[in-house]
């Protein structure tokens, strides 16, 4: 029988564990934005070598399952003498993985701008730096906001995988609780509910931003 009290009781500690889920996803996307912007710049640069390197970076990270990436990074960091906490390793992995997708989001948005936008700026004599800073990037950012929010939603879900390296985020916390209460159905459904609430909120935020910035 499905026990509603058990379900409700497990919501509280899982909500508490959600702060790690959010920390990993938000820190992950922040790191992903930084690296992703660099990767995108490399992919659009005039240097052939940089373009190639960017393409390989994206192809590798998109081709390898996140779980495998996570274990590779997690186990190989100590080899480089980096004795980092599991949490940092998790954030770095999630961020690196997100960078591949974010660089593609940027690239798509930049390519989606009509050519005339830059031409109008070039025609009045703006420098290439100003054309990027004032005309292309602000518009690309607005265009890609919904996709970036979507990426954040993906990261919230993907962060469940860091449970395998022992971080007590929602999924790991629910495993622990299922083991002590012997009520996996209620506990895991409670976990699912919390993920759902987080993601529905993010999706609503995304729609709001999209609506507000639609000029």
């Amino acid at each position: 029988m499905f026990s509603i009290p058990t379900f409700l009781e497990s919501l509280v500690p899982l909500f508490w564990a959600a702060r790690y889920t959010l920390l990993i996803s938000v820190a992950g996307i922040a790191l992903g934005l930084v690296i992703g912007t660099l990767v995108c710049a490399a992919r659009l640069s005039p240097s052939r070598a940089l373009r190639r390197a960017g393409a390989v970076w994206v192809s590798f990270l998109r081709g390898v399952p996140l779980l495998v990436q996570l274990l590779v990074f997690y186990y190989s960091l100590p080899l480089f003498g980096l004795d980092v906490p599991a949490m940092v390793a998790a954030i770095v992995t999630v961020g690196i993985c997100a960078s591949a997708y974010i660089s593609e989001i940027w690239r798509g948005a930049i390519n989606a701008l009509p050519r005339g936008q830059a031409e109008a700026a070039v025609a009045i004599g703006m420098t290439p730096q100003d054309v990027w800073r004032r005309i292309i990037l602000p518009q690309a950012f607005t265009l890609s906001l919904p996709a970036l929010i979507n990426e954040l939603i993906l990261l919230v879900k993907a962060s469940s995988l860091v449970s395998v390296v022992g971080i007590l985020e929602i999924t790991r916390a629910s495993q622990a609780q299922a083991a002590t209460t012997f009520r996996p159905l209620e506990v895991y459904l409670a976990a699912a509910c919390i993920y759902l609430v987080i993601n529905l909120c993010l999706a609503a935020l995304g729609r709001y931003l999209e609506h507000r910035t639609a000029v």
């Binding site: 779980l67 995988l161 895991y188």
Partner: protein, 218 residues
């Protein structure tokens, strides 16, 4: 070399399970997705509403948690599944809303005039679906279908966490016994990279072939 002798067969079996799970999961997921898309297209409003909730729930929760609910929670409501069938069911459910959305936008890409023309000559609704709607929408939906099928190959590794004996599971076992965590996972990463790149390439070729075929026939 000893390692390969000891673990080779297990890895090969693991790869077989991965391919099986992926192929069946994609097939079932696509089928369920198509059914969902058709129900949304033709079904009554209330059904559409239920489907909407189903889609939001599946898309809003991690695949891993869905698997836990199915595999560990299932027995509590009498759903006793072994790891492999549970994993397959999980993949099917997980993929279905994405496939459904792909089909749905494919349907929308078909010009209304095409359907009206078929109705005007008196074709029945089922044959309109079979002969006009599906072939035409497939043309525009194909790249996304191929793309999502490729994404599903990567999701299969998550099945290892509920002890489905696929490739990642075997690699984890091997690395736990030999303590070669880095090498084992790195090789697995490279393997997946190669696999995904290869099927992407094959997928693009298949796409152009099928598109050509569909357009020439219709």
């Amino acid at each position: 070399m000893d390692l390969l002798q000891t673990y080779g067969p297990a890895l090969l079996r693991g790869f077989g399970v991965t391919v099986l799970c992926w192929a069946l999961g994609t097939l079932f997921g696509m089928t369920l997705g198509l059914l969902i898309a058709l129900m949304r297209h033709y079904g009554p409003r209330w059904l559409n509403w239920i489907i909407q909730v189903y889609i939001e729930v599946i898309r809003g929760t991690p695949f891993l948690v869905q698997l836990f609910v199915l595999y560990y929670g299932g027995p509590l409501i009498g759903l006793r599944l072994d790891a492999v069938p549970a994993g397959l069911l999980g993949l099917t459910l997980y993929g279905s809303p994405y496939f459904a959305e792909i089909f749905r936008s494919g349907f929308r890409a078909v010009a209304p005039g095409q359907i009206e023309a078929a109705r005007a000559i008196g074709m029945s609704e089922p044959s309109i679906v079979r002969r006009i709607l599906l072939p035409l929408s497939l043309v525009s939906a194909l790249p996304a279908l191929v793309n999502f099928s490729i994404i599903l190959t990567k999701e299969t590794v998550i099945l290892s966490i509920i002890t489905v004996p696929e490739l990642m599971y075997q690699v984890s076992r091997m690395s736990a016994e030999t303590f070669r965590f880095v090498e084992a996972n790195l090789v697995l990463a490279l393997f997946f990279w190669g696999l995904v790149e290869t099927i992407s390439r094959l997928g693009r070729r298949l796409e152009t072939r099928i598109t050509k075929h569909l357009l020439e026939r219709t």
